[in-house]
Assembly symmetry: C2
Homo-oligomer: 185 residues x 2
């Protein structure tokens, strides 16, 4: 099976390719998709996938990821990338100050589009906001701790086992596996 | 002349009505327009106006406003409303800390849509970020100072003379006035 990952973020494409290994032939197209402002990453991913499928013309996946911090009323939410580009990790940690509630979660929605339509797969992971540690990963990974390690302290293959994107990809893999079985029946 | 202001924020509708007084009959429709994520408020306003004109069926104006703080690399930018709803004025002031560069600006883009197309009018105002003062206005008005007063210390009619939205509305008024003259020639 061949799938095109459409994203302007090469780190995301790398995570998808690492997840599937030899199972699926993953190619990467760096296409900027227009994004709706919406509180739901699933809706944003759906819109992007519709655009990407029209452009690429073969099965595509796109993702949209939000980062929701309890103490900040869900900020930065779906605007995680923009917030990182402007105020950065330092800004997030400033806003947290000495807050006792350090909980937050990542949510990824993967939208898979082919000629039959668009399907959404979600993955979520809960963690706590900590001072930066580790040098792997990207984005908020250094300040997001799950099971005693920040995401920047996980090797890529281990991160996939617990991460939001890994969980969404696992749901997607179940879907394409069952589809392939159906086709073979 | 009749114009429908399409916004889910009643404060914006009030500012537009106050600006025009008896000149223009302003009605307000509280319609949620889908918004693209875009760095440019003009593009966002254009998309919303296209949607609103299709729904309303008569001339409409919509606006989109961004708030850009130099010390925060332009944050919160086009996500001003979302940021206010989550981290609030307190969050912005935390992020500013003791920064010596307190400058920032508001930019409003007004998109006017009628059967001939969509036209964009922009207004911008520079100011400085201060501790909250005043009880008029809405949004970031209490922490945004222009000519020694915060926007929350300006009465509505005085605010229109200096504000981003007032300047965009003035450009729009020039346009419709010249259009009306042309029609009379």
């Amino acid at each position: 099976m061949k799938i095109t990952v459409v994203t302007s973020n090469p780190n995301k494409a790398t995570e998808v390719a690492a997840f599937f290994g030899d199972e699926v032939e993953v190619t990467h197209v760096a296409l900027e998709c227009p994004e709706y402002r919406d509180d739901d990453v699933g809706e944003i991913a759906r819109q992007k996938a519709a655009f990407a499928f029209e452009k690429v013309g073969s099965p595509v996946i796109v993702d949209d990821t939000g980062f929701y911090i309890s103490h900040l009323n869900g900020f930065p939410g779906p605007y995680a990338a923009y917030v990182l580009d402007t105020i950065g990790l330092e800004g997030i940690l400033n806003l947290m100050g000495g807050a006792t509630d350090r909980t937050g979660y990542f949510e990824t929605a993967i939208a898979y589009a082919d000629e039959t339509g668009i399907t959404i797969f979600r993955g979520r992971v809960e963690g706590v906001i900590v001072s930066p540690r580790g040098s792997d990963g990207f984005g908020y990974d250094p300040i997001f701790e799950v099971n005693g390690r920040t995401f920047a302290e996980y090797p890529l293959n281990e991160k996939a086992a617990v991460s939001h994107r890994g969980r969404a990809l696992a749901a997607f893999r179940d879907f394409i596996t069952s589809q392939t079985h159906n086709e073979n029946c």
